[in-house]
Symmetry: C2
Subunit: 305 residues, 2 copies
């Protein structure tokens, strides 16, 4: 298959491309940073907001498009206009152009659990209404509706998957406010102390980047008749407290979990560490999955760093 991946040089994009290359797929990758993309893929280097760049993605046709390119959460909060330009306007243009160039194209859209908002009910399920607070989340939610609309019109064949925390990202600035979850892995792997910006009891929803890439490839291939009418599913995730996660990482890295101290930041705690029970029957029915348990999540996540 020939698959276009936007944001191909990002953390999740690289893992997806790795999996697609193993499958023998042809990949057209778009990223602002050519050096971040894997060898063996046809590279398109430039901005998603650039019409010529977008057009070049469709020049040879494709069987599916995986849309990851985004102004991430922290960066969007700092520059709402940039988020609107890329996460809303450029993506809407990409949807229109996909429809024009290849009517009915499978379009896999990376949304985020952030669309659900900060104030969650005691149990989140497929009926929980969207109530975004962050700029990133509001824009992601808007584009979920656009994906549903273009799909219901038969102009694209869309699949929206809402990502939980993806572990473990590389060290360094990612523009994501949830980066602390990955930073915990790096610190413990290196036997270094870590000051956690959310509480020990704080609960998160997480998935390893390896499992996440498998879910994206599944999204590119599935029969969309298995999806709900909204075309959007919240990915299954492991729910764990930060303390339990830290203990499991420490055990697998053979270091002391006492390396971790907790100094909660109110905003981060509210946005990322009050995640209640999560039920994802629609995603499971459609064949998506999580890492199985916290130990597997940690094992899989450690493989990426």
């Amino acid at each position: 298959m020939r698959i276009v991946v936007t944001g191909a040089g990002g953390f999740v994009g690289r893992e997806i491309c790795r999996l697609l290359l193993q499958r023998g797929d042809d990949i057209v990758g778009l990223d602002v940073n050519g050096q971040s993309m894997l060898d063996g893929i046809q590279q398109v280097i430039g901005e998603l907001a650039d019409r010529e760049i977008r057009h070049s993605l469709f020049s040879k046709g494709c069987d599916a498009l995986i849309h990851l390119a985004t102004v991430p959460g922290g960066a969007a909060e700092a520059d709402p206009a940039a988020s609107r330009r890329v996460n809303v306007d450029a993506m809407y243009n990409l949807l229109s152009e996909a429809a024009e160039n290849q009517q009915g194209l499978r379009f896999v859209y990376a949304s985020s659990i952030a669309v659900l908002g900060d104030t969650l009910p005691p149990v989140v399920d497929d009926q929980t209404p969207l109530s975004p607070r962050m700029i990133y989340a509001g824009h992601k939610a808007m584009m979920e509706d656009a994906v549903a609309m273009f799909s219901n019109r038969g102009e694209i064949d869309g699949v929206t998957i809402r990502l939980p925390g993806i572990l473990a990202r590389p060290k360094g600035p990612s523009g994501l406010k949830s980066a602390f979850m990955s930073d915990l892995f790096h610190a413990l792997k290196n036997n270094e102390p870590f000051e956690c910006p959310v509480s020990a009891e704080g609960t998160i929803w997480a998935q390893s980047v390896r499992k996440c890439a498998e879910n994206f490839v599944h999204a590119a291939l599935l029969n969309s008749a298995v999806l709900p009418a909204s075309r959007a599913v919240t990915l299954p995730a492991i729910r764990t407290s930060m303390a339990d996660l830290a203990a499991e990482i420490a055990a697998q890295c053979q270091v002391a979990s006492g390396l971790v101290t907790y100094l909660p930041d109110k905003q981060l705690e509210e946005a990322f560490a009050r995640q209640p029970k999560l039920l994802t029957p629609a995603a499971e029915l459609a064949g998506f999955s999580h890492d199985g348990n916290c130990a597997n999540l940690v094992t899989n996540a450690l493989m990426s760093i």
Copy 2:
């Protein structure tokens, strides 16, 4: 109170302004057509997409903004770019500017049941996910998320109300695909034959324009703590078959219901006349209401024509 109404010269806008004037409110009305606006309101004549025009709405401050101005369904379907420009881009700008000029302003947004889509479950309730197909509906849904986001940030105090069919509109082109519901009233009131473009068994959700205006004024005044996290409610509506509606209108107008013949159009039937049972507990909890029963709906609707 001082209230800004966009689309003040439209069918619903005029009825809202009438009610506000009765209450003694000051009104700043925006419309492309100055002659369509009622006397006694401060008129701003121009396009919502014009930044200067939008800015003039806030020049003297206000207590609430009721946003009705829109490219309606049929017109949006015919010109998706115009819908994007007005229904998405200009409204997003209006939200940003409201937040900038009057942080926390009550912003009442007229959305539509069209956001739910064409393929509805056997019962629609507050958990039914959005699945828009029409351009108008997709854009309305996108902006529901924007209203939720700006509200959750404390930048505006938003209330989204999803309108069912509003009866009875004036005769003539409205740009609305659902205009046939109103045309039925005009025909029977004038004792004229009417060819209905949906089936006799076709079911619709409807509200009189009078009741609708009351709901808008309620939305401008309510305490937003009563709203769901999404800030959006589907308005209560009377569910009736076209045949029952026609019989009731005929009885009240003292004409023969046999004046109505049915020649269903597949697209109109799917989009507007397969409306299942509707449950709206969130709206009722927040104090919104419908006309009570089909007879009252018809009586109230006939008063507007």
